[in-house]
């Protein structure tokens, strides 16, 4: 398939960009920063075409398997990151975020995710599919960026790295959570519940995917409350954000591959 080649080019772009961001983080070489950004953009360009191809070819069915959804997740992470970098001039955040996008895209290129798109089973034939999945993934993308910022914050403060402003990383992570949380609530919980009501006759049924979505939501709710009412910042906040991201990863992969439930067609 031609889109494998395009995904491959995106992978190469993100990989070299990751290396470039690391080089920039160490040497403060501005040229390296510009190059990394350009490569990330180039990767995003190929990634966009590849995704467009798949959507045009298979429609909503793209959003039903791990391959398609993770490809979209990875795409959004890079897109959100580039917008944040542009707005807040935090080039070094790329060292933490680009590897996440690269890693996710690499995982789906492995045999655990089948590229084949099966036609929509009866339960998935609904307009809520696209709304539920896209909004959830937008939320996941913000959480991934927040985790990237938090991991970098932890590394910076632990190893006393210079040249990075921990406050800035902390603030960006918070912003990513603040943007991701409402979107995730809307897409993951509200849209999911409404769809479950029309398809199964119950808006909530303690299905493992539902429970893990709620767990992820609760972890980020803890993040927000400890921050706003106790003024937890920095290290503690960063740890919770990373925990939230792992919970999101488990909601995404763990539930599909390790637990069984009504969402198990999502493999």
């Amino acid at each position: 398939m031609s889109d494998s080649l395009l995904f491959g080019l995106a992978l190469i772009g993100y990989f070299v960009s990751t290396v470039g961001y690391f080089y920039f983080a160490i040497t403060e070489n501005n040229w390296a920063k510009q190059l990394s950004k350009t490569l990330a953009l180039a990767g995003l360009f190929f990634h966009t075409i590849a995704l467009t191809f798949r959507v045009v070819e298979s429609g909503a069915a793209v959003f039903t398997n791990t391959y398609g959804t993770v490809a979209f997740w990875s795409w959004l992470i890079v897109a959100v990151y580039l917008v944040l970098e542009q707005t807040y001039e935090v080039g070094k955040l790329g060292t933490a975020v680009l590897p996440i996008a690269f890693g996710l895209l690499l995982v789906i290129s492995s045999p655990i995710a089948s590229e084949e798109i099966s036609p929509l089973v009866p339960a998935l034939q609904s307009n809520w599919l696209v709304l539920h999945v896209t909004f959830s993934i937008v939320g996941y993308a913000f959480f991934a960026v927040a985790a990237g910022g938090s991991i970098l914050y932890l590394l910076t403060t632990t190893f006393d790295l210079t040249g990075l402003s921990p406050e800035k990383l902390d603030r960006i992570s918070y912003k990513a959570v603040a943007l991701g949380f409402p979107v995730f609530t809307l897409g993951g919980l509200v849209f999911g519940a409404i769809w479950a009501q029309t398809a199964w006759g119950r808006y909530w049924g303690w299905d493992p995917k539902e429970v893990w979505t709620l767990i992820t939501w609760a972890v980020f709710a803890i993040y927000l409350h400890t921050r706003l009412t106790y003024g937890w910042k920095g290290r503690k906040s960063a740890l919770i954000a990373v925990l939230g991201f792992f919970s999101a990863l488990f909601t995404y992969f763990g539930v599909n591959y390790l637990l069984s439930g009504l969402h198990s067609y999502a493999g």
């Binding site: 099966s118 603040a178 199964w200």
Partner: protein, 550 residues
């Protein structure tokens, strides 16, 4: 009461709830104590059943935690109400200079004598343009000004918390007053719709498959057995390869799309395997010792139902499909599952038969009538007939027995069981067996069942048949009412409003104090969230005041 109102409790509860939910998904649910002890050892196993974690989400523990959480949310919100009323309706205009100077973002300006009033006016104009609302007060020779916008953002968290309470209430109401059950009904049969005076009749259930895509699972030999290697989607007419194999699904030649069973062709060099794909799933051994399972994708489950009132009158005919439920007197019916009947051949509701006397069988029938399948009738004295089977498209299969090829009525046939005192029957059949297939289309050739000697022979003809329905399929509906659903949906709306207020509306306040005594102006600002654009507003204000000072 104070315990319930603390945020500390809320956070602790969130942590505990997360813990229980993690356990509830990772520990297998609804097992016996013995099984838990086997899995986790004596103490952990006993703890699991003691805490009710074997049914974590319906346990007393979990429900108590949720109730406590709801109570905590409510008390927290009520506690904040007084503070919020002040923030919203009684803004703090007077803020002492020292307090302003201690704000994170603040400045002091010393304008030339007489220019202070002008500066204040410039600042006011700038901030008004930016949609800030002005409050002012004069006291002890000082002018206090407060500019604020986005105050409703302060309400956000409370709105979110109240929405969660509404959603929880909706859940409690649904749980207590709602019901949920499954309803299984076979084709042609009736069943009462729970909690209504209506009856549901299932006219037909159909399982629709995709006819342009098929699933092929490939297995490679691995030490005596086969191991799943790849799953592919085969589109009709598209050739895919797997190792040396080229794989193709195509429509049978000479047929238009849609009719006839598709052919599955697997080729490796000279070696070719062709299979007519019938049914839903077939295991096929492919050339090169490759195992495979070819299956169809489900497209839709559809129940055609008729709703009857207590008097047996039809009030509604409807289709119930997955994702489109039917509402009967407030009770919702969801297509949930199905069970295909053991009888794979669709059946006619009735057949019309004619019985003719004499070898020619011409003239008017001695008996004619419509009978249901399985029904036995007496045709003439001493002769009864029953139609036991109906095939819409009978062909003779490979092993010589009749099979039904498709649901299309291309060769409608009925199997008649005849009992007659007229004679020993058909000389061509086994002694005493008067039963045989008769065909509507070939009435002239295989005229029908012969009963008796030539002179008294009784021959049957299939003249008509009723609507063809699948036999024995069952449809399973999820039947439920969710009385709290409107409350839950309203809660969702309020939740989204609250989140929007919390995360996208910021309460920004800028205080300016002009001290008439020394002519100095103190300026400072505060936002309830850390945001970028607010400091821009302040920078702009500082520039404006700076410009006026010079």
């Amino acid at each position: 009461m104070r315990v319930f109102s603390s945020v500390r409790l809320a956070i602790a509860l969130l942590f505990i709830l997360v813990g229980v939910m993690v356990v509830g998904t990772l520990v297998p649910q609804h097992q016996t104590l013995g099984r838990y002890i086997g899995l986790y050892g004596k103490y952990v196993g006993r703890t699991i059943t003691f805490l009710g974690l074997n049914d974590a989400f319906h346990s007393v523990l979990f429900n108590a935690l949720m109730a406590l959480f709801g109570l905590n949310l409510l008390v927290c919100s009520l506690n904040r109400a007084k503070l919020l009323r002040k923030v919203l309706f009684d803004p703090q205009v007077v803020k002492e200079r020292e307090r302003i100077d201690s704000l994170e973002d603040s400045r002091v300006f010393s304008p030339e004598k007489g220019s202070a009033e002008g500066l204040i006016e410039r600042a006011t104009n700038l901030l008004r343009r930016k949609n800030y609302t002005l409050f002012s007060k004069e006291e002890d020779g000082k002018r206090y000004l407060l500019f604020q916008k986005g105050k409703w953002g302060r309400l956000g968290p409370e709105v979110v918390h109240l929405s969660l309470i509404v959603i929880l209430l909706g859940g409690i109401i649904s749980g207590l007053a709602g019901f949920s059950t499954t309803l299984e009904v076979a084709e042609g049969e009736r069943t009462e719709v729970p909690r209504t005076d209506k009856t549901l009749k299932l006219k037909d259930f159909s399982l629709e498959y995709y006819d342009d895509r098929y699933r092929l699972d490939l297995y490679k030999p691995a030490g005596g057995s086969y191991q799943h290697d790849r799953q592919m989607v085969l589109e009709t007419g598209e050739t895919k390869s797997y190792g040396d194999l080229s794989l193709l699904i195509r429509r049978p030649e000479g047929t238009d799309s849609g009719s006839g069973n598709p052919l599955f062709v697997a080729r490796a060099g000279e070696d070719e395997k062709v299979l007519e794909f019938t049914g839903e799933r077939r295991e096929v051994m492919l050339p090169g010792n490759v195992g495979s399972i070819l299956s169809r994708f489900h497209k839709q489950y559809r129940s055609e139902v008729e709703i009857l009132d207590s008097g047996g009158n039809s009030v509604e005919e409807a289709k119930v499909e997955v994702n489109s439920p039917l509402t009967v007197d407030g009770v919702k019916l969801y297509q949930q599952a199905y069970e295909l009947g053991s009888e794979e051949v669709p059946q006619a509701e009735w057949v019309r038969l004619g019985a003719f006397e004499g070898s020619g069988g011409e003239g008017s029938p001695v008996w004619e009538g419509r009978i249901s399948l399985g029904e036995e009738v007496e045709v003439t004295e001493g002769t009864t007939v029953a139609a036991s089977k109906f095939y819409p498209n009978l062909v003779i299969g490979e092993d010589g027995t009749p099979v039904n090829r498709s649901d299309a009525p291309e060769n409608p046939s009925v199997y008649l069981e005849v009992k007659s005192s007229r004679g020993e029957g058909d000389p061509n059949s086994e002694e005493g067996d008067l039963s045989r297939w008769i065909f509507q289309q070939y009435g002239d050739i295989h005229y029908g069942t012969v009963a008796g000697e030539d002179s008294e022979a009784l021959r049957f003809r299939l003249t008509d048949f009723g609507p063809v329905v699948d036999a024995g399929d069952k449809s399973v509906f999820q039947v439920s009412t969710t009385p709290g659903i409107n409350l839950v949906y309203s809660g969702f709306g309020v939740l989204l409003l609250g989140l929007a207020l919390s995360f996208f509306v910021f309460h920004r306040r800028i205080w300016i104090v002009l001290d008439e005594n020394d002519g100095e102006i103190s300026v400072g600002g505060k936002s309830n969230k850390e945001i970028h654009s607010f400091s821009e507003d302040l920078e702009e204000l500082y520039d404006e005041l700076e410009g006026g000072t010079k």
